[in-house]
Subunit: 347 residues, 4 copies
């Protein structure tokens, strides 16, 4: 049994994680921390939760666990990661702290110096320590890794939707991508977090629909462009427009990519089905079908649809933001790190 | 008092129309037809409705009215329009029958020959009879017109969002639009109509979000491209992706336009505020702000936001699909046709 | 023109009030206060609002107005009422401060001494100053009144549903009400107020339904029982179970009353239609039909349905909590106070 | 492995059943029928479903299965039950056909003679064949049973909420229940079935809340009263008021019972915790806490809250209508019939 600790269990991501881990046959949760609810039980916060005591972060018995999951705000996550690594445990971090390989980019988008730059550097970047845990892409770097940066929710939906286009050198030469790539993304309210605010007040969400931080303003933009450049050095820039949907969970990204040259939807569909053949959690729909939230909510799946409009490929990519976009992918990463069957606890 | 008849009053558009007209000081509703509910009262269908008797379409006393509103399916609308025009009344048609100037395009998208091609041809097209009633654009053609084609809901949101870019010759020369224009639109469920179906079943809509007919597949595409070409002969092609939102009403279109050359968001914002200065129902937000459904539901307004990402202008354009996207604009058109104050009954 | 001031305009009730008053032909809004947003505009808070400046409560020019509406928390409302009355204006208070005639009951339920007990005492109580503004009941006390206590939202739905049973001496003798009266009420989220909290977080409301303060625990209980006793000295006790509905607005109360003796649904229906004949805002449905939120949202109406199960009468009573349950009834009261047509600005 | 067939798999109940059975370690689904979609795959109807072929009911290989689940309309279910029993299989029927022991009552409420009255008669009724499968109550009758009538969704929520009061002879003598019992129940839309209709149209459900068939008009009333009389011969009559909630799933019943004599909430709570001690799927909350949908959605649990108002006990009882109210309880019953651990596949 893998002994697990969870930091920040009372946020939506932490709660989803504990629900998944409670069903996982190879895992035992040793402790769960919560700054706001320490001293209470998880069932005091979520009526359907497992009956776990909530402890102070400082009281976490790090020496009793093999791995910790960090569902903490940025900066706090890095500090806890250092402590956990020093105790000899592995760290699976669901915050943004280890997603960006370049500490200068981190400082620019998060407004403070990176707390532990020596740990940065992610898969395929050639240096560093953290592995960027988009499981389908990092499957070979993950086994045995000590520090995993679980991708953001929007990046998971967009990057899985783009990967076959960007990671195929032949295509890059024959069918170059031109102009900016546009990701028009829509997310359910759980993505905005558990903290009550005007943004998440029922009266402001229900019967409404609203864009926010559109263009090149959202913190997930540099994360996506970083990975796009890993995959294709001259990848076009990304325009990213998130919107808040009046639903509890789910992300749908509608992605527009202009591909020069002669191609058919069948060509592109073959590229996708080829790359994702055998993937347990990525499903490519038949050409012309669209992905919807109903395909994916409450699952660890990413469902991808492909359509064509002239030279523009329209990719619809749907995930559950709390599962494949956070806690589910974190467990998927853990399974690979510990060399378990990748789908354990997730189907 | 303008004597009015309504055909097809029990659809969502017809019902919204009768609600607006009930508040209109210069209008008297003489009759309202419903194929499904003839013999009943409108209150049997909508509990808050005015207490109007519903009659058979064939029994409508056309000779008693000055103008009829047609909230009928395509083809049926054209046939009724001919009858009404022959009786000497004016026609404001909310169907698609007179929106397209070219009967061949109509036949291609609607699957049958146009029932009354001699009436076609819309404003600025140089021939024909019907006026395309995007009020802000057709204000000079509307007074006294006999046949008005009220624009579709999606086209209203997209075209008002694009008009300042397309209808400015100077801009066209100095700052050409390149590549396709992308309109990623999201509509509430009332846009799918009153007929119960799998699409509109609460269980399929709630907690879900789904694209449909994306790319170049939706019937509103040729309508939009037609008007775009009126405004700029070499306008780029349009990619149009509608999505079904789990809300009763409202459309938000997020529109991406690539503009070559040197420009700032301030330049473009000036173009918009200049064109829409004095418009009672179009509101341009300060640069950087986004339009949301909450700006417009239950109003006849179109609210427009502008943002920039590199050379791409991102326009967010919101309307209430049943009001500015249908019944409200129809009344706005009627006001102009009859030379009333354009805002009568709408504020 | 009646000159009006609004205190606490940025809560949901205040906002609804300003929307109604903006359409009222005999009213001019002179000022609007907001503690949280003083110095901003109302449009900064509600995008569809009239463009009113928000001022500090202390800066309100009381001497410029004929009447003030108080949309303030309890205790704060009473203090402002005293100031306004001293300046010679009338006060229409939407808080709970003047609803209860007995200051001891007030102290018990609100946890502090009443700030202005000399103003208490409500319609038909034989002493005092404030008039309890359930318009249909207080129509003769309201004209010229200086202080009106607008009823609570739940009380409006329950009391209008019960009044014909309780205010008919003949019935009381021949058909006595036995056992407790049960009001199982369900309210939309706007009733919980504008303040962001766990209770109003979209994630806790959507897809959920929850009772709260059931039995004899909610502050509206003593208000309802007080009025019930005005109407029938030996009225049975009330059991009141509020529930939070995942909708923005509307209250439906399902009320169970056991009536001894021989009666038919027709007898009771006649009682209701007789009492409410001519009422502009109370609508009694034909026997057997049920009231729903769809009957009343966005209107000032109370719609009442009647059904029978043995000796139990089941009353379904629906209102819009923000209109007939607050701002609409406040304006209805104001119309009567100032001897205007009661429906002005409300239809 | 238990070999299973499912009739009527494409309704919401059938689909929920197949989802549960897909996770059940001791079950293999041999076939699944659908009149509307025979020839297609279950994934064509529900994108997240197991990939099962849908066959005609007439083609179902009854001889290959140990047990069939019937998710069919009434009358159709009875006919199929007879066929399945004749082939030697067991039957777990989720329709209403075998819930009522008295065929005359059935005929009165369902409008036709019972198709197989010789199979009627339910647990504790002293004759007949079918077992009424409220698992907690029928646990001793179920092992080996050939025909199980799974209770209705509303009855499950109400009966589990009432059972400790009715099935305690001592209580009946000392603390008699007086007057009618009132169950004010609220159900999510899945209870209305998969068929598209005005009732289930998103536009009629969203932002609305509506009672229907209140009093003594709903078909679940005789089912509940039958069981109440099994438990206490002189049980009071039931008043039952269902309401349609704008949520996909879940039932909350707020139940009012007047208990004569001296009692405290603690007394009653002890009765409940005593009766339900050790029950895996019934949870009694601490006195004063209320049950909500959030306690139970997507689980097989019934959560019960208790509150007091004078002599009235207020019971809040919540279930997921598709799980504990249908498919989950059906599997729970199957587990007991086949002498498996009762919770298999359900936690």
């Amino acid at each position: 049994m893998i002994q697990v600790g969870i930091f920040g269990v009372t946020g939506y991501t932490g709660y989803e994680l504990v629900r998944i881990l409670a069903q996982h046959p190879d895992v035992q949760v040793q402790f769960a921390t919560s700054q706001s609810f320490a001293g209470k039980w998880l069932t005091d916060v979520y009526p359907q939760a497992p009956h776990l005591p909530l402890i102070e972060e400082a009281d976490a018995p790090l020496e009793t666990v093999d791995v910790v999951f960090l569902c903490l705000p940025h900066a706090a996550a890095a500090a806890t990661a250092v402590r956990a690594l020093n105790t000899g445990g592995k760290v699976i971090d669901l915050s943004a702290d280890f997603r960006l390989a370049d500490p200068a980019v981190y400082a620019q988008w998060y407004g403070h110096e990176h707390p532990a730059p020596e740990l940065l550097g992610t898969a395929r970047s050639g240096f560093g320590f953290a592995v960027y845990g988009l499981t389908e892409w990092a499957r070979e770097q993950l086994p045995g890794a000590d520090l995993v940066a679980v991708p953001g929710c929007y990046p998971t939906s967009v990057l899985l939707g783009l990967r076959p286009l960007l990671q195929r050198p032949l295509l890059a030469a024959k069918l170059p991508l031109t102009g900016p790539i546009i990701a028009d993304s829509k997310s359910g309210v759980s993505g905005a977090g558990r903290q009550a605010s005007d943004t998440t007040h029922f009266m402001n969400v229900a019967d409404n629909f609203a864009p926010y931080k559109i263009g090149r303003a959202h913190r997930h933009l540099p994360e996506m462009e970083q990975v796009m450049h890993w995959w294709q050095a001259d990848a076009p820039p990304l325009i990213f427009s998130p919107h808040l949907l009046p639903v509890p969970r789910g992300i749908l990204s509608t992605i527009y990519v202009t591909i020069a040259g002669d191609w058919t939807l069948g060509d592109v569909a073959a590229l996708y089905t080829d790359m994702y053949a055998g993937e347990p959690f990525v499903c490519v729909l038949p050409p012309g079908q669209v992905a919807t939230l109903a395909h994916v909510t409450n699952t660890n799946k990413c469902v991808i649809g492909l359509a064509q409009a002239g030279n523009t490929l329209i990719i619809t990519s749907a995930i559950d933001n709390l599962i494949k976009g956070a806690a589910g992918q974190a467990v998927q990463d853990m399974n690979v790190v510990f060399r378990l069957d990748e789908t354990t606890g997730l189907v």
